[in-house]
Structure formats: C-alpha cells, structure tokens
C-alpha cells in the first residue's frame, strides 16, 4: 500500500500555494503537511500543528473569524481531515469568506506506516465539503490545474476547499520548531505586534 496512482508531488503543490504568500496566515495539520510547509520556508505566520489530530480546520476557522480581513489557508492531510469531518460542517455554518483549506490527499496515513485512509477506498473529501455547503470545493489531479487551484485558494469567496491528489512517495523530513508556546508567541507577535506576544 505504499504507492498510489497520483502524479502530483506534495512539495510542488505546497511550494506553489505558499509562493508570494503576502500577508497569508497559514495553519498546517500534523505530520507531512507540517513538514511540507516548513520545507517551503519557515515563517512566523505559519502555525504548525504537531498533534491534536483533527484540529487543523478548527484552528483555521477560529483564526479566520478573529481576523476577517486576512486570508487564512489551512494545509492538511486526508487522514487529519477525516478525524474531524464535522469541522467542515461547522465551517460551512459560520461561512468565513476568508477561510481556505488545501488537502494533500495521498490516501495514506503517512506517519504510521502508510496504511490506507478512507480516501483510498473512494471517500470524496471535496464532495463532503460541497455537501456541507462550501461554495467552492474541487479536486485537482494534474499539474496544469495548480495555478488555478492556487488562485482559488487565495481569492475565491470562502470557505473554499481544494483536494490535491498527491503521490504517496515520502519526501525528506524538514522539521519546523515544535515548541507550541514558541509557535504561538511568534505568530501573535508577527500578527498583532510585540505587545501581544
């Protein structure tokens, strides 16, 4: 179960999503998405989750509601999202226009031995998001569609979700800081100023 049919490379996808990031606020789900975001370049406005599986969307939602004029991009994996599918319904109900969710779907639990997730059996995460009422939810399988997907995640009225069907090939680990208090303080300082840290 270590390989799938997907051709997109996760690092290429994340590199594209975070290029010229401007004032984007980023929340990453535990495991590979956190390493992918670090590989694209550590940034104080990246809040990396290293645990609390299932929380990436909710952290992004709370941040989006608190900062309605800033774009919030959640970058997470299929297994992480599957643990908290209800969060998509909650995000849909709150309808934050500034919330975007990118799912790096390798159809595997990459941290635990590449066991298949439900998406390997056909569970359609974009379909779930659409069914909860997301105004935009799509699945991207080919590299030529990346630019438009990146634009959607950056500009479309949210909440918006894009699933990227990516290869299950492992990438080199790039580990960002994992001290939660440090990650929290530097994020708040970068966003709110030194008095808030």
């Amino acid at each position: 179960m270590t390989q799938n049919e997907n051709r997109l490379r996760r690092r290429e996808v994340v590199g594209r999503l975070l290029a010229d990031r401007g004032d984007l606020l980023v929340v990453s789900g535990l495991g590979s998405p956190t390493y992918d975001c670090a590989a694209a370049g550590d940034h104080p406005l990246n809040f990396y989750l290293w645990g609390a599986m299932g929380s990436a969307v909710t952290v992004g939602l709370g941040l989006a509601l608190a900062q309605p004029r800033r774009r919030v991009l959640v970058i997470t994996g299929d297994g992480e999202l599957l643990m908290g599918l209800g969060a998509l319904a909650t995000a849909s109900v709150m309808r934050p226009k500034n919330l975007a969710i990118a799912v790096l779907d390798n159809e595997r639990y990459g941290e635990t031995g590449m066991q298949a997730t439900h998406t390997a059996a056909g569970v359609d995460l974009a379909g779930v998001a659409a069914a909860t009422g997301f105004p935009a939810a799509t699945t991207v399988r080919e590299a030529p569609a990346l630019d438009e997907a990146a634009r959607t995640l950056r500009e479309a009225e949210g909440p918006v979700l894009v699933v990227f069907k990516v290869s299950a090939k492992r990438e080199p680990m790039v580990l960002p800081p994992r001290d939660g208090a440090l990650l929290k303080h530097r994020f708040r300082e970068a966003l709110l100023g030194s008095a808030a840290a």
């Binding site: 609390a52 929380s55 952290v59 709370g62 608190a66 908290g84 909650t90 939660g180």
Partner: protein, 195 residues
C-alpha cells in the same frame, strides 16, 4: 477548590454584597455569567448545546459583538478558540459534561501551547441523575480534567457561578491556562424525564 466550601473567598471576589444560595430559576445566573464573559473581553463563544446552557447561548447569539459558533462535537471548540487567540480574540467553550470526554486529546493543543481556554461545563451524571448512561462520564469529569492539566472550579450554588467564571477567566487569560467551571446538577436542577 470547591466554591461551596469557601463562599467567603468567592463572594469577596464578586465585589458586592453576598447573595444567599439560590435555586435555579430564582437567580438569573446565566446573565451574570454572560456579564463576566463580557467583562473578560470574551467575544468568541463556541458550544454544543445543553439545556443548562440554553439561556447563556441565547444571550451570546443576541449580542452583536459576539461570534457564536455551534459545534458538531466539543473538541472543535478547543481548536476554534486556539485560532481565535492566535488572531487576538478571547473565547469561551460551552458544553455538557458528556462532551468533556470528547476533548481529551485535543486539550493537548491548549496545554502544550499555553492557549487560554475557558470551559463552562453543565453537569450530568453527578447529582440525582435519572439516566444511568450519563453517570460514567459525569463521574470522570472533575478528576479527568485535573489529570489533563485543567484548573477546575466546581460550582454547586447558582450565586457562585459568575464569580467562578470570573476566576476561571482570570487564570486562563492571565496565566495561559485551561480552566473549567463545572455547573452542578444541584444548582441547575436534575432532569426529571417527565412531561
């Protein structure tokens, strides 16, 4: 600390005349709790409904300054309030005691990062419970939360609900701690399962 055992301390914190113990329904404790949340600059409230929280939820929804988020499961609220704090806003999480069990792994987000977290928990399975299915989780709440590193304020007297919320908010927002106020069935009234 159990508030009902040290009423002087709690009432001193209230900053006005002590109030006699009150049965639910004779004291508008949800309004007093709401005022304490406002004073603590709480503006994002997330909840899974409970009858004991019904009025407080209504008050939050009715206040245009509040962003009030209904959840599908309680641990969503821990993530949402962490995100709110990252964005510079303070929050509170409302739930019934059965939902505490849903929160334990996600509580690590609050405790590892030092996110302030104010939880208001209405109790079941704790005082004169009719439904045996509520008892196992209800009996785990106080010790379970303490084991998870949460500061716990059990409240048995409606007059002490608002002071306990004030204390929890202070320790959460000043000390970057998770704090839970447990509102007993003794003050809420035990569900009778009658029409």
């Amino acid at each position: 600390m159990v508030y009902s055992e040290r009423p002087e301390t709690a009432r001193g914190a209230l900053g006005r005349e002590p109030q006699p113990p009150s049965a639910a329904g004779t004291l508008d404790w949800p309004l007093l709790v709401f005022e304490k949340l406002r004073e603590a600059e709480v503006r994002q409230v997330a909840y899974v409904p409970d009858s004991g929280h019904a009025r407080l939820i209504e008050l939050c929804h009715a206040d245009g300054d509040f962003t009030t988020t209904p959840l599908t499961t309680e641990e969503e609220g821990i993530g949402i309030l962490a995100g709110a704090w990252l964005g510079g806003r303070r929050g509170a999480l409302l739930m019934q005691s059965s939902g505490v069990g849903n929160c334990f792994n996600t509580l690590s987000l609050a405790t590892v990062c030092g996110f302030p977290l104010v939880m208001l928990v209405t109790m079941r399975g704790e005082w004169g419970e009719f439904n045996p299915w509520q008892v196992p989780m209800g009996q785990l709440v106080e010790s379970g939360l303490r084991l998870a590193g949460v500061v716990v304020y059990p409240v048995y007297d409606a007059a002490l609900a608002a002071p306990a919320v004030e204390a929890a908010a202070r320790i959460a927002f000043n000390g970057n701690r998770a704090a839970a106020v447990l509102l007993s069935q003794r003050m809420l009234g035990t569900k009778l399962f009658k029409d």
